[in-house]
Symmetry: C2
Subunit: 309 residues, 2 copies
Amino acid sequence: MAVGKQLAVRIFPDAETDLTSLENGTARFDDVQYLLAWRYPFGLLDALPNLKLIISAGAGVDHVLLDPDLPDHIPLVRFVDRHLTTRMTSYVASQVLFHTRRLTEVLEHQRNAQWLYVCDPLPETVRVGVMGLGELGQASASTLVSLGFQMRGWSRSPKTIDGITCFSGDDGLVPFLAETDILVVLLPLTPQTKHMLNRDLFSQLSCTGRSAYLPGPVLINAARGGLQNVPDILTSLNDGTLYAASLDVFENEPLSAEHPLWSHPRVVVSPHIASVTSPHRIARYALKQISTFEAGGTLEHTVDRMRGY
Amino acid sequence: MAVGKQLAVRIFPDAETDLTSLENGTARFDDVQYLLAWRYPFGLLDALPNLKLIISAGAGVDHVLLDPDLPDHIPLVRFVDRHLTTRMTSYVASQVLFHTRRLTEVLEHQRNAQWLYVCDPLPETVRVGVMGLGELGQASASTLVSLGFQMRGWSRSPKTIDGITCFSGDDGLVPFLAETDILVVLLPLTPQTKHMLNRDLFSQLSCTGRSAYLPGPVLINAARGGLQNVPDILTSLNDGTLYAASLDVFENEPLSAEHPLWSHPRVVVSPHIASVTSPHRIARYALKQISTFEAGGTLEHTVDRMRGY
């Protein structure tokens, strides 16, 4: 796309789109070459015979990879953005500090107008483990280093990161969990990671000693709801396998008003806002990728379909 | 104090101490040469005719300096400690992130089981100003730099600190406040700073524009309750001059159960626990200072009585 070239944009769905034609498979949008999308309805790709590139408007592409009509030959890129990373880092830091400063208890005492001391652990005695060491995981871990926490990291393939003790693969998972007091999850959702955050995993946390004044292991999931088994989280919170949790993502969003997570005293529930993308930044990113594609260059952040991210 | 030398320790008050004799001025403890204390009762120094050194068990010495019997010739040192600094830094970071992530609203929506988006400001658009650039202020400001905030600092005398725009003195206060969205107070309490955190000061905050998604200025006071005018804080919160506050210190502690601060929806009240000192660390610090003193060396962190810190 040369400088000054016009790019026609079609918003989907708009008032003119006949959604029935999409559902019954007769829709056809011959003019669409590039798709910038987030959780689009399955069936859409069948209506785009001239599609050349799919750009996910989010860091995760699990929804796209579940599309049975996803053509093998069309490149798929994920959204990676400095602001997205900064926001995720601030969410992770806010929740790690919320639990290490034991704000659940501080706020409860405040509600009761009770002047009661709460002892909080010294950051250097707390081991924070980040699962998933992509852009978001690495940036979050590095920021937690500067806050004084002992950092661990786990990823599928081996990594070396300054200031972070890294573990990898199936063999690395047990030792990683044993040295983790606060588990921060920034993994992609793939068939391998689905429901990985279960009771068996929680029971392996923080087994090699524990920081004084941190009552137990903490789970922070800012990645995908499909990674977690919610009944296991509730059981683990209630029997002390977990002390607390911060959950920003859920398998079914929005979380239903009756869900027991809302009222659990040691869970912080947020509505998938850990890192919200600005439309302006996504548009700029999409334009850059399209320009690269049209110039025959190498796309950034291309998804490896076998890995799933 | 040579290695291996025994140091006799007297705990005050203990079961044998006749407190009446202290009150009527007849008490006398000739054997006490060093005093390690925190908010000791006035009158005590009169009973210590052979005192050579006073070591405050806290970073602030405002209470000691108010003692009418404080002799001019006895050196007074403050407690400065790496753990104390780390804890204060984690408190400050936890509260800055609490308010920038708008957790008051997130937790309110959770209590109501409402899936409602809350937009939070990008850290680099938020200007955090630290008043008081001693050990605690400088360390807190540096950590906030690594979290991506725009940092400002204000101190009595000019300072130069990497990554922080520094202001100083009376002339620097107005421009400092105008560029501050979140005010972190780590000042000593002196006659000059008493009740400095008042409505006039709050109304000067954040006057040169404001970050999108931060509803208004925030006050975080982790220094001394005597710095703040609480009725002004409440008025300012209620008319929007302040959006929120985190207060760890109060002029009268414990805060009475009837105090309106406990129940204010946008105030985080904690019971003077931002940075709690461990007795072990204080004892080690006191021994080090006494050793230096006995060896004729230069004491660290000696209080300048004219400055008040």
